[in-house]
């Protein structure tokens, strides 16, 4: 009897709960309908104000699956205020759970501390810390627009280029988390991949109206980011990399470069705007120290660092020029790198830090280019890496490491985690060393790197 009455109370309570909340739940709008799903954010700076552009995903009810993208922007004294204005302008809450790209424009290069921008993003509970961050030489809005135009999967095209960046010997791990970890590490350095925008605009008149849903709204103060646009073409290619002037004397060339291009056409009424553009990931990397931009390294310069880094940068191509031996005459050789391993020893010689790096590369011969193949075919040199090629590659790696070390010393930046690693493996000696130097911020100046390169052929 007692049990039954208790049960009745519970059931009654449950019933009241259901009666109170169920009608409310039916009446409430879906949380998703109040949300604007943001895929990427671009940040520019004009005078003292930030212009924050957001690429929105606009779901559409159709028979099949369909999604459209639009770009909106707003100005504000801070990132949070600009995003708040965006919210007010579109009448929806901004959802950053699916934001996987943050683009910084060149206009932010003069920022005293770029971390003040990231501070907003790391506080956001929704935004993943592995969102990719990239720098562009043009405006972030322009790059964002280009990614919207480039293909139907929108921001993915740019993301795909950068997402595996850290796997290549000329690339960098360009995620928010990596930047923050670097910023708060003893070296206080952070790196961001630099994406180049090559674009041109053509205005023409046309009576044809497009069915584009890439409508763009003005964010603040009537800032219009263009007309409605519909992706027409998309291309992705590996273009040839031009070596920087400073490296022209070397006999190598990297072939890392990814690019995507877009040619879009849209019209509204009687006027149409056609935009052609292309973005390139040529391996350039922007280096920040204590949140301030200090240098831009091209892919060769960064490769010199990656040869001895503890990162996942393992793959890529290396080109060797004018190689000569018994069978090769002024041959250009392309070597494919499959794997890279590095063993490091952290020593002190005469009180100064000396890093001994044993780099083991697993490579294969990818291409031989020379004027005549007579005498080469049928020999070992045609199929396998000859000793002369191995030696050229060895010399190249050693030289690139030393050249990059010189740059690190010049800018006084620690991209090879010298401080961290010495502290990890030789904490006492490292503390002693820091106590003995005049300025412990200048520890890079005394660093010596000795490299030994072992080349294994991949068959």
């Amino acid at each position: 009897m007692k049990k039954t009455s208790v049960r009745k109370i519970i059931y009654l309570f449950l019933l009241i709960f259901v009666l109170i909340f169920t009608p409310q739940a039916f009446a409430l709008p879906h949380q998703i309908s109040n949300k604007a799903i943001i895929l990427a954010i671009g940040i520019d700076k004009a005078d003292t104000q930030y212009e924050v552009s957001a690429q929105l995903l606009v779901p559409k009810n159709q028979k099949g699956f369909s999604e459209n993208y639009s770009i909106i922007s707003a100005f504000g004294n801070t990132i949070s205020l600009a995003l708040n204005k965006l919210e007010l302008n579109i009448g929806k809450q901004l959802g950053l759970a699916h934001t996987n790209m943050i683009i910084l424009s060149a206009s932010l290069d003069e920022e005293e501390n770029i971390f003040s921008i990231f501070d907003f993003f790391i506080r956001d509970r929704e935004l993943g810390n592995y969102a990719l961050i990239m720098h562009t030489d043009k405006t972030a809005k322009e790059l964002l627009q280009l990614t919207t135009d480039v293909n139907e999967s929108s921001v993915n095209s740019l993301q795909e280029i950068v997402i595996l960046n850290d796997r290549y010997i000329y690339g960098v791990d360009s995620t928010l988390n990596n930047f923050i970890n670097g910023y708060f590490s003893p070296s206080k350095t952070g790196q961001i991949a630099d994406i180049t925008v090559i674009s041109e605009s053509e205005d023409s008149t046309s009576g044809i109206s497009s069915l584009s849903d890439n409508s763009q709204s003005s964010g603040d103060g009537g800032q219009s980011s263009g007309n409605s646009e519909l992706p027409i073409s998309q291309s992705s290619e590996n273009s040839q990399n031009k070596r920087p002037a400073s490296k022209n004397s070397s006999n190598t060339q990297s072939s890392q470069q990814a690019s995507s291009s877009a040619e879009t056409d849209s019209s509204s009424g009687s006027q149409s705007s056609q935009t052609k553009g292309q973005f390139e990931n040529d391996g350039s990397t922007i280096i920040y120290k204590e949140g301030k931009k200090v240098a831009t390294f091209n892919s060769y310069e960064y490769r010199g660092i990656n040869w001895i880094s503890d990162t996942y940068a393992k793959k890529g191509f290396v080109e060797l020029y004018d190689v000569n031996d018994e069978y090769l005459t002024d041959a250009d050789i392309v070597v494919n790198i499959y794997d890279r391993k590095v063993n490091k020893q952290y020593n002190f010689i005469e009180g100064k830090p000396v890093m001994k790096c044993k780099i083991t590369l697993t490579v294969s011969l990818k291409q031989i280019i020379q004027s005549s193949y007579d005498g080469l075919l049928g020999t070992d040199s045609y199929y396998n890496l000859s000793n002369s090629i191995k030696e050229e590659l060895r010399v190249l790696v050693q030289r690139e490491v030393q050249e990059s070390l010189a740059l690190l010393k010049e800018y006084n930046i620690d991209l090879v985690k010298v401080y961290e690693n010495y502290y990890k493996y030789k904490p006492k000696k490292w503390k002693e060393y820091l106590n003995n130097v005049d300025d412990d911020e200048n520890y890079m100046q005394d660093l010596l790197i000795l490299t030994e390169v072992v080349i294994n052929e991949f068959n």
């Binding site: 709960f17 996987n100 506080r123 592995y130 995620t175 708060f184 502290y423 990890k424």
Partner: protein
């Protein structure tokens, strides 16, 4: 008939020891204490395993007595009541923390807005049903959900392992012990989950092999906790401060995965079930302590009062996890040390005096 099977009790011990340690504790501990604080956590675990082994030995000798009966018969009602009040406060605090962490986690990862009331009412109803029914219900639920929970945790950890640098675990104690120790003792109220084991007295069949089984279960829980903390540190060596919900941050470490969508949420949600089960276990222990010191025979009424007290406490703290976290790090945390010392010294004394009494009779 015993309330729990051996298997269920082991699963409950594993979940009790692990669940709440994977939300805020890694960030709290590692942001200031670094990886050295993880090594220092071993001290707690060694103490905990020693107490568990002692408890098992005692429970084997007195298979038909609860810990409360043993205390009352040896030292009297006053002493037992005092201990029970301490346990009640302890488990209430643990339940509040668990509730706030899980609520905050829900709010942070799944919902934009969810009222603590809407979240609390169904949870409290489930908890009420479970604790008023007794350990058997909790044990069976745990048995059903244990393997999906372990799957969720394993996946979360494996995803994290793929991109870490183990050298971040070096150097060991290079900057001395004071800072890591300070952090560990500051966060010690997150430990002591093993105290639930005291409430298994009489409810589990303690045979000779149980000692070995519980030892290995606890050892595996410790290994999982330590591994989790170390993986988390390797992923975020300098930014642990920003990663408040460790288990969800762990699975975000692979950009390729997040590119596919947040499939990690699936594993995270499974782990949240573990946290809810743990909250229910804590509430069960709080209820047992409440019954022991109030002597209210009506279990349902006691369960109702316990839930009301918990609800009121959560209302006072506004389910704010930061606030609760600060309270946990305040002087209140010493209740844990008090219980720890109490368990260490009084349990053997209890047995000694009990035996003496029996012999006299």
């Amino acid at each position: 008939m015993k309330e729990l099977t051996t298997r269920q009790s082991l699963m409950l011990v594993f979940l009790s020891a692990t669940a709440s340690k994977f939300f805020m504790l890694p960030s709290n501990l590692l942001s200031k204490g670094g990886h050295d604080s993880v090594y220092l956590m071993f001290i707690f675990f060694i103490i905990e395993v020693l107490i568990i082994m002692t408890v098992v030995r005692i429970a084997t000798k007195f298979p038909n007595k609860t810990i409360n009966q043993l205390m009352v018969e040896t030292f009297g009602n006053f002493y037992a009541g005092f201990i029970n009040i301490s346990f009640f406060v302890f488990f209430m605090l643990k339940s509040i923390l668990n509730f706030s962490e899980t609520y905050s986690f829900f709010l942070g990862t799944l919902y934009d807005e969810i009222s603590p009331f809407v979240y609390a009412v169904p949870l409290f109803l489930v908890a009420y049903m479970a604790i008023s029914q007794g350990l058997r219900t909790i044990g069976r639920t745990t048995e059903l959900l244990f393997f999906p929970i372990i799957f969720g945790l394993s996946v979360s950890m494996i995803i994290g392992v793929s991109s870490i640098d183990f050298s971040n675990l070096l150097p060991v104690f290079a900057d001395g012990l004071s800072t890591p120790f300070e952090q560990v003792q500051k966060n010690m109220l997150w430990f002591g989950d093993f105290f639930v084991f005291l409430f298994f007295f009489k409810n589990v069949k303690f045979d000779k092999t149980y000692c070995k089984k519980i030892f290995f279960t606890f050892l595996s829980a410790v290994l999982v906790i330590i591994s989790f903390f170390l993986i988390f540190h390797c992923l975020y060596p300098y930014s642990a401060e920003f990663h408040r919900y460790a288990i969800s941050e762990m699975t975000q470490s692979t950009p390729n995965l997040t590119n596919l969508g947040r499939i990690d949420w699936l594993t995270i949600m499974i782990w949240t079930i573990a946290s809810i089960i743990q909250t229910i276990i804590f509430m069960y222990c709080a209820l047992e302590s409440f019954i022991n010191f109030t002597h209210i025979k009506n279990r349902r009424l006691s369960a109702f009062i316990t839930i009301i007290i918990l609800g009121a406490s959560i209302f006072i703290f506004n389910a704010n996890v930061q606030e609760v976290s600060l309270i946990f790090q305040s002087t209140l945390r010493w209740i844990f040390v008090y219980l720890l010392i109490g368990s260490f010294t009084l349990l053997p004394l209890n047995v000694y005096f009990y035996k003496k009494k029996v012999r006299k009779k």
